[in-house]
């Protein structure tokens, strides 16, 4: 069973450690900043 068990948890690899979770937070903050900037620019046009 162990050989067939898929336990890599790829979607959650960013939450396997505190350091990875912190990096995820920085990435989400960066993406959110870009999204907000784009939306505000589009609204201003």
């Amino acid at each position: 069973v162990d050989h067939r068990l898929h336990d890599d948890l790829h979607p959650l690899k960013y939450l396997r450690s505190e350091a990875e979770a912190f990096r995820l937070l920085v990435r989400v903050a960066a993406v959110a900043a870009v999204v907000v900037a784009v939306v505000l620019v589009v609204r201003a046009l």
């Binding site: 162990d2 336990d7 948890l9 396997r16 450690s17 505190e18 350091a19 912190f22 989400v28 939306v39």
Partner: protein, 198 residues
């Protein structure tokens, strides 16, 4: 006597481990997965009201305190930086850094929650006024509840750090609450962006 001869141990048998991920970390990961689903349900209601129904956001006559929420966001993000510093300190064997970091993280989180409660007092509408109010209080309140849970975890970590429970080799008690705390901050970035900014 007979049990000892046969190699029997006292208590239940050790739990089966079917994953290479540490059990406490795996437990937190699965918990976070369930949390994402809960937040997803609330965001579904938010987008249904705003996109499908095309309702005003916020409701006519209401205004959300964007500047205060923005400062509060900076406070919460700062708490993630200090949380990261806390774990780096314990890994380096810096006990003073561990204690100062976890106390600072707790205080920043408590400040965030206090400002959030103050915002509820002064925002000028209530959950029963309209659907927008229900979603606003629902989403921010759900997140606030998570901050409260996170603060409870941080309080335990702080107490344990002052009792000298953590070492550079064994610090899962800091690492796992740290993962949760960063997740709470990630959710706030999404909540803040959608509720206050967009």
């Amino acid at each position: 006597m007979e049990a000892a001869t046969l190699g029997h141990r006292h208590g239940p048998p050790p739990a089966n481990r079917s994953s290479r991920v540490d059990p406490s970390t795996l437990g937190m990961l699965l918990f976070i997965v369930s949390e994402v689903m809960i937040f997803g349900a609330f965001f579904t209601a938010y987008f249904f009201i705003r996109i499908v129904n095309g309702a005003d956001w916020p409701a006519q006559g209401d205004e959300l305190p964007k500047l205060i929420a923005g400062v509060n966001t900076a406070i919460l993000l700062s708490s993630s930086v200090t949380m990261h510093w806390t774990l780096e300190s314990v890994k380096a064997g810096n006990r003073l850094g561990l204690q100062a970091g976890i106390v600072t993280t707790f205080l920043l989180g408590a400040t965030f929650l206090t400002v959030q409660i103050n915002e509820y007092v002064h925002v000028g509408f209530s959950p029963q006024d309209h659907a927008q109010g229900s979603i606003f209080y629902g989403l921010t309140g759900l997140h606030g509840a998570h901050v409260f849970i996170g603060l409870s975890l941080l309080a335990f970590v702080a107490i344990r750090s002052f009792r000298g429970h953590f070492t550079p080799q064994e610090h899962r008690g800091v690492e796992v609450p740290g993962i949760y705390w960063h997740f709470v901050d990630v959710m706030w970035i999404i909540v803040f962006t959608t509720i206050y900014i967009l």
